[in-house]
């Protein structure tokens, strides 16, 4: 399509400059933190602003990698993969059913999901501990994973999005005799790709970030995912010490896998958005 209105160019330039400055602002805390993780304790305290550590030391990383980090990383990876994939699938199924399929109890289910969405996670700390304990999955991966397999917020987002897609295309498929799951899987889901990607990302982020559930679902330090392990560096006995390079190295290391996966994902986000659905 030919571009009309070349005049908007100047406004674009202003937007571009603003976006550049903001991007730097959003990223700078990470760059500064990484730089400081290679400093000695003394230098990080006396000169936190410099981006080039001198001398460069890997002491913080060596210390972390030689102790608790590999196990915590393994735990986080297992939990995150299982939780992310199943959340996207289960949320999409439920969101579609709530949006399109007229089944008995639909209103009650949706109302309870809205209700559950409003329940503070901390309300669940005590009773989740009890349920996990009574099901005999305390101190196991199952106890860490199963309670997180779907989330009300994701269902809510999915349902809202399905509500906004016109039904006409599905109805055509229905008249052609496609089953409900088939219609859902090969027609509706591809149309909803932007929101599926959004939910995948939110789920990934949610399970990687999860802390409170891990605090109550297991005690065994070998089952600590990264969040719990790193939090213990500041919340526990180490909180009072100023050993910033060590803590920052831990923060950087726990962020690195996310960063890598995220940059792979980013292309998908852009792609799925350029192939947008139009009504």
């Amino acid at each position: 399509m030919p571009r009309r209105r070349r005049k908007v160019r100047r406004g674009d330039l202003v937007l571009y400059a603003a976006a550049s400055v903001l991007s730097l602002l959003f990223i700078s805390p990470f760059i500064i933190s990484i730089a400081n993780s290679f400093k000695t304790d003394a230098q990080a305290t006396s000169d936190p602003l410099s981006l080039i550590p001198s001398p460069v030391t890997f002491a913080a990383y060596e210390q972390i990698l030689g102790s608790w980090f590999p196990q915590a990383l393994t735990n986080s990876v297992i939990i995150t993969i299982v939780v992310t994939l199943s959340r996207a699938f289960i949320n999409a199924l439920a969101g579609y059913a709530l949006s399109r399929l007229d089944f008995p109890g639909r209103r009650i289910v949706f109302a309870s999901i809205i209700g559950v969405l409003a329940v503070p996670g901390v309300v669940l700390l005590i009773p989740r501990f009890l349920v996990v304990h009574q099901l005999g999955i305390y101190n196991t991966y199952a106890g860490l994973i199963i309670p997180l397999l779907c989330d009300a917020a994701g269902i809510f987002i999915m349902k809202n999005y399905f509500d906004s897609i016109p039904v006409s295309i599905e109805e055509a498929a229905r008249i052609d005799g496609a089953g409900v799951f088939r219609t859902f899987w090969s027609i509706v889901l591809p149309m909803a790709l932007p929101v599926v990607v959004t939910v995948l990302i939110l789920s990934f982020q949610g399970s990687w970030n999860e802390l409170s559930h891990f605090i109550v679902a297991a005690q065994d330090p070998d089952l600590s995912p990264l969040t719990k392990a790193v939090a213990s560096l500041t919340a526990g006995a180490g909180g009072k010490e100023n050993r910033f390079p060590l803590k920052l190295a831990a923060a950087a290391m726990m962020t690195l896998p996310v960063a890598i996966l995220f940059f792979i994902f980013q292309r998908r986000i852009v792609k799925s958005e350029s192939g947008a659905i139009k009504e």
Binding site: L49, A94, R128, S212, T227, L248, M254
Partner: protein
């Protein structure tokens, strides 16, 4: 046509409806089972714990655990004492956190989304940068912010470049409204004077977020806006280019297009974002657990953290569960208020009237 729609066809339709109903049940089953066992049942159990004298030993459902009515709620809602003061303080802290961070985060998220919505060169990079803090775990971010806002940290180092002596941030319990009043030369009233609610004096209710809490608010601005930007972007995709092009041809300005085309069409998305952001902001826990444990001087204590502290640290399980239900009630109330506020605007007439009214006050908001 009607006359042809005979019995067999109707029967086929109802069979199909039944099939779809069955599919619906199957589709929601996994979600309902997981949410039921790990969310709904636990909530009922927590409800029982909040009205019982369970002391943390064994199961709360075993015989011997007594029903104590509203005693746990009364222990901090109506009985004066330390518990009430802690509760009142946590509500004040979190209220300021919500009032400042929800509008801030929503505005930033919307601005970012509008900035990178068009597929222009470089926008992928910007999107990545804006969203990156959101994928970072809040634990890692808290560690980073503790470092940045440490009294000899990066932020104060930067402030000293322009000859400003920064506060001690995470160790500073002073409320920012109090600081502003102090700056205007208004003195602090004598302690103990006047009205008190939930163990917190009226002067302390008006403190504003503490300097330490401000650090957490800034963290929310960095950490949450990327997520909500994505939701706004998904919403913006629903608005077709034709509408915007029509508006351009009509000779509208960028602001007019935003105010009268984009914003009204984004209203459902705006509702989603405001609701999710508000719900999240009332549940601040991870940052407090990792970063401050409610310090300094309890000015970063939140109801969520208080509930954890009372149950898991002081073994006042009933009291801890009761706080979390009060929090639940507050969140429901705010959600309903927000929903009601946004719905009223959708009625065409009053919406336009309100738009005209708010537009007058707008210049102060739009920077």
């Amino acid at each position: 046509m009607r006359s042809i729609a005979t019995a067999p066809r109707r029967r086929r339709r109802s069979r199909e409806a039944r099939g779809r109903a069955l599919a619906g049940l199957l589709f929601v089953a996994p979600a309902v089972i997981i949410l039921g066992v790990f969310l709904f049942l636990p909530i009922l159990t927590a409800g029982w714990v909040s009205v019982s004298d369970w002391n943390g030993k064994g199961s709360p459902l075993q015989p011997g655990v007594e029903f104590v009515g509203t005693a746990n709620y009364a222990s901090f809602l109506t009985e004066e004492g330390l518990a009430q003061k802690d509760f009142g303080t946590s509500i004040r802290n979190n209220l300021y956190y919500v009032l400042v961070s929800v509008p801030l985060v929503t505005a930033i998220a919307l601005a970012l989304a509008l900035m990178v919505n068009k597929s222009r060169r470089g926008n992928g990079v910007f999107r990545t940068a804006f969203y990156f803090p959101s994928v970072t775990s809040s634990v890692a971010l808290t560690v980073i912010f503790l470092f940045l806002f440490n009294s000899t940290g990066v932020v104060n180092e930067i402030l000293s470049l322009i000859n400003v002596e920064g506060p001690t941030w995470m160790a500073d319990p002073r409320g920012i409204f109090h600081l502003a009043l102090e700056g205007l030369g208004i003195p602090k009233p004598a302690p103990g004077a006047g009205f008190e609610f939930w163990g917190v004096s009226w002067w302390d209710w008006l403190s504003g977020p503490s300097v330490a809490m401000t650090v957490f608010i800034l963290m929310a601005a960095l950490a949450a806006s990327g997520t909500f930007m994505l939701i706004f972007l998904a919403g913006l995709q629903q608005i077709s280019d034709e509408i915007e092009e029509a508006a351009i041809i009509d000779g509208t300005t960028r602001w007019q297009r935003f105010r009268y085309v984009t914003l009204p069409m984004l209203r459902p998305t705006l509702f989603t974002v405001l609701t999710l952001c508000m719900i999240g902001s009332w549940q601040v826990f991870d940052q407090i657990y990792t970063g401050s444990q409610g310090n300094p001087a309890k000015t970063t204590l939140t109801p969520a953290y208080l509930s954890y502290e009372w149950s898991f640290k002081s073994s006042d399980w009933g009291q801890g569960a009761a706080v979390s239900f009060i929090l639940f009630a507050i969140i429901l109330l705010f959600t309903l208020l927000q929903r009601w506020g946004l719905r009223e605007r959708t009625s065409d007439r009053s919406g336009r009237l309100r738009a005209a009214r708010t537009q007058k006050g707008d210049p102060s908001e739009d920077h």
